[in-house]
């Protein structure tokens, strides 16, 4: 069987230029992969350096998350081939993100809503300890 996999006749034949769609799936050219890495590293540097500026209470968090999401998008689109892959896989991935958002938002909202009860209790206990 290894002979067969060896027979490197068709690879070259099928993929003279690596940027086409022969074979089972798309092949990503090296230059693209490398430049994506470059971008990612750049963004990493950026997100680190940004933290030294004060952009308001939530500002920094928002910026950090935006940058992270851009990086994630790059990885998903190019490294993970979603750009050329079946759309259904993209739908699946976005679904998962959607459900995570749903989970986070509802839970956090509710927790925020009743935080006052937690704080009130703590305050009362502090009172109690004074007596």
């Amino acid at each position: 069987m290894s002979e067969h996999a060896h027979s490197s006749a068709h690879p070259e034949a099928a993929h003279g230029d690596g940027h086409d769609d022969h074979g089972l799936a798309h092949t990503t050219p090296v230059w693209l992969l490398v430049s994506i890495l470059g971008l990612l590293l750049l963004l990493t540097v950026l997100t680190v350096s940004v933290t030294s500026f004060d952009l308001g209470s939530e500002g920094n968090l928002v910026v950090a998350m935006v940058i992270a999401t851009v990086k994630a998008a790059l990885v998903v689109t190019f490294f993970m081939h979603l750009l050329w892959d079946k759309k259904f896989h993209l739908i699946l991935f976005l679904t998962s993100v959607l459900f995570v958002m749903l989970f986070l938002s509802m839970t956090t909202t509710d927790r925020g809503e009743y935080d006052k009860d937690v704080e009130a209790f703590r305050a009362a206990q502090a009172q109690l300890n004074r007596k």
Binding site: L102, M106, T107, T109, D110, E113, V118
Partner: protein
């Protein structure tokens, strides 16, 4: 293109015991334990799940016996608490969730798709052994000092109680992955292994239901995994996520838990919808009514099921805002569910109804599930839920849905596919008696609990006020009846395995692909990969009953006529 009539020729050849089938293809225990054949894995699942069901059922009977009198009847406080915990955990994680998808689904799904196997046979076997491993963990907890947290593992009780919670939680954790892998396998199988000609709206409703279920399994189950993991770590390392004394929040645990466990309710019952959707048209000899609505409503339920988890927490300290949102969406689920019931009923209209055992279970399902569904509405109404929450009303409601929905459908499915899976016909008379006994027992057991609940009897109670005793005793009597029904069923089913194969390829006159091959199916399912040219419930009149083989065969002229 392989014309349907050629497929029909395959049908026409009645199964003969000597022909090579998946049961006789290989011999020896190893050939079963290491099999990659979806049918054999399905059979192993079926056996394991039913064994677990027997165990959980025994617990139920002991619990009901204990409740014959207030105070001690046969067991102590703690034993009772541990037993209802294990009853819940076993029934939910070991029986109902894998029940229909993993057992019946594994047997029937690839056949309904005309496929040679599921997409990932090794993964399929792996998920079975994960089930076994999970079961072992549960039993470890059971035999050491069984968890007494209730199957919900609510913190901080679960993080502080003295009993052996970790193995039980670990069991549930592992079973979660077993369920994920089954779901994943089915989704890929349905996407990639459908035969030519079978578009999405030519899939049997059982397949549709399993598809919706699988989506929930894949999306929701990981969350229970991480939740139980956090609970276990909280218990051992006190990380302070859920434990209030360390700055944690018990209500947060409930959010985490129900984000999975509410969708899990649909993991349990949607496959049941599928079974009923397959049985009713076949035994009414009539095309299913509103096929697309039934099919799509499964997806709708699956999706909506994710948006309502908070309705388990109306009085748990959840905020009014969250509560109202969850309540509002909860009501929406009533709609697709109602649509299904109406369509099934309408399917029977002007049909020609055969009341064989599977159909009896389907009718039982319609009755019981209607009650279960309607009482669900009570609990979605917030002000009423304040009174009913955590009372026997809830217990009755979810038993009507779980027992009445999931288990009745499971039994219906077992009786429907039994001839296909094992090539044997069970004793029809006993089958009908069994179905009726189970149906009556179910109502006698759980209906009184609605009254108990609304009269204020809280759940998970070992003692109770004397005035509740009559209803408890009635309920217990019903439970014994159920026990008898199940025992009887087990006996005649096992009995049927011991006679020589006598099941025709198509005893009920079904149209779905699994009935076009011999019973039991050949090792490789389909000699000629089928090509589909009609819907799963079309042209029943093209089948004729052949008394000699006690089964249906394709009517040659019929094709010509309609062609």
């Amino acid at each position: 293109m392989a014309s349907p009539s050629t497929t029909a020729d395959v049908v026409a050849t009645p199964s003969s015991s000597d022909s090579d089938n998946y049961l006789t293809h290989d011999k020896g225990i190893a050939s079963w334990l290491l099999t990659l054949d979806h049918k054999r894995i399905g059979v192993m699942y079926l056996a394991s799940v039913l064994t677990a069901f027997a165990l959980g059922g025994t617990f139920a009977l002991i619990l009901r016996t204990e409740l014959l009198t207030p105070g001690k009847t046969i067991i102590e406080h703690d034993t009772y608490n541990q037993m209802f915990t294990m009853h819940g955990a076993i029934m939910v994680f070991l029986v109902i969730i894998p029940g229909i998808p993993a057992a019946l689904g594994n047997i029937a799904l690839p056949l309904q798709l005309g496929a040679k196997d599921v997409a990932f046979p090794k993964l399929n076997l792996a998920s079975y052994y994960l089930w076994v491993l999970g079961a072992v963990c549960m039993l470890t907890s059971l035999v050491t000092s069984a968890a007494d947290t209730g199957w919900t593992f609510y913190a901080p009780y679960s993080t502080t109680t003295q009993t052996n919670v970790i193995p039980a939680a670990m069991g549930a954790f592992i079973l979660g992955f077993s369920s994920i892998f089954t779901g994943l396998n089915f989704i890929v199988t349905i996407h990639k292994l459908r035969p030519p000609g079978m578009g999405w709206f030519r899939m049997p409703l059982f397949t549709w239901a399993l598809y919706s279920t699988a989506l929930i399994q894949v999306l929701a189950t990981p969350v229970i995994g991480i939740t139980l993991l956090m609970m276990m770590v909280e218990r051992t390392l006190h990380i302070g996520i859920f434990d209030p004394t360390l700055g944690g929040d018990p209500v947060l645990f409930q959010h985490f838990f129900w984000f999975y466990s509410h969708p899990a309710v649909y993991i349990m019952v949607v496959p049941g919808f599928g079974v009923i959707g397959d049985i009713i048209p076949v035994f009414s000899r009539k095309r299913i009514f509103g096929y697309k609505f039934i099919a799509v409503s499964s997806l709708a339920i699956a999706f909506l099921g994710f948006l309502v988890w908070g309705h388990h927490m109306f009085v748990a300290g959840q905020s009014l805002l969250a509560g109202s949102i969850f309540s509002a969406i909860t009501f929406l689920i009533a709609i697709p569910t109602a649509i299904k019931v109406f369509n099934w009923i309408t399917t029977m209209y002007k049909g020609r109804i055969h009341l064989d055992t599977p159909m009896l279970y389907a009718l039982a399902f319609l009755w019981v599930f209607t009650i279960g569904g309607l009482t669900g509405v009570f609990l979605a109404v917030m002000s009423v839920d304040v009174h009913l929450h955590d009372t026997y009303f809830v217990v009755a409601h979810f038993h009507y849905v779980m027992m009445g929905g999931a288990i009745t459908a499971l039994l219906g499915g077992i009786h429907y596919w039994w001839p296909k899976a094992f090539g044997r016909m069970y004793n029809e008379k006993l089958g009908r008696i069994g179905a009726v006994t189970v149906f009556v027992g179910l109502n006698v057991t759980f209906f009184p609990q609605f009254i108990l609940g609304s009269r204020g009897m809280p759940r998970r109670y070992y003692n109770y006020l004397p005035e509740f005793q009559p209803l408890h005793q009635l309920s217990t009597f019903g439970a014994y009846m159920l026990g008898v029904g199940f025992l009887m069923t087990a006996v005649y089913l096992i009995q049927s395995l011991r006679k020589k194969p006598d099941a025709p390829a198509n005893p009920w006159g079904s149209r779905t692909l699994e009935w076009t091959i011999s019973s039991p199916p050949p090792y490789y399912n389909f000699h000629t990969p089928p090509t589909v040219t009609r819907g799963p419930y079309d042209d029943y009149e093209d089948l004729v009953y052949d008394p000699k083989i006690k089964g249906y065969v394709e009517k040659k002229s019929g094709r010509a006529a309609s062609a």
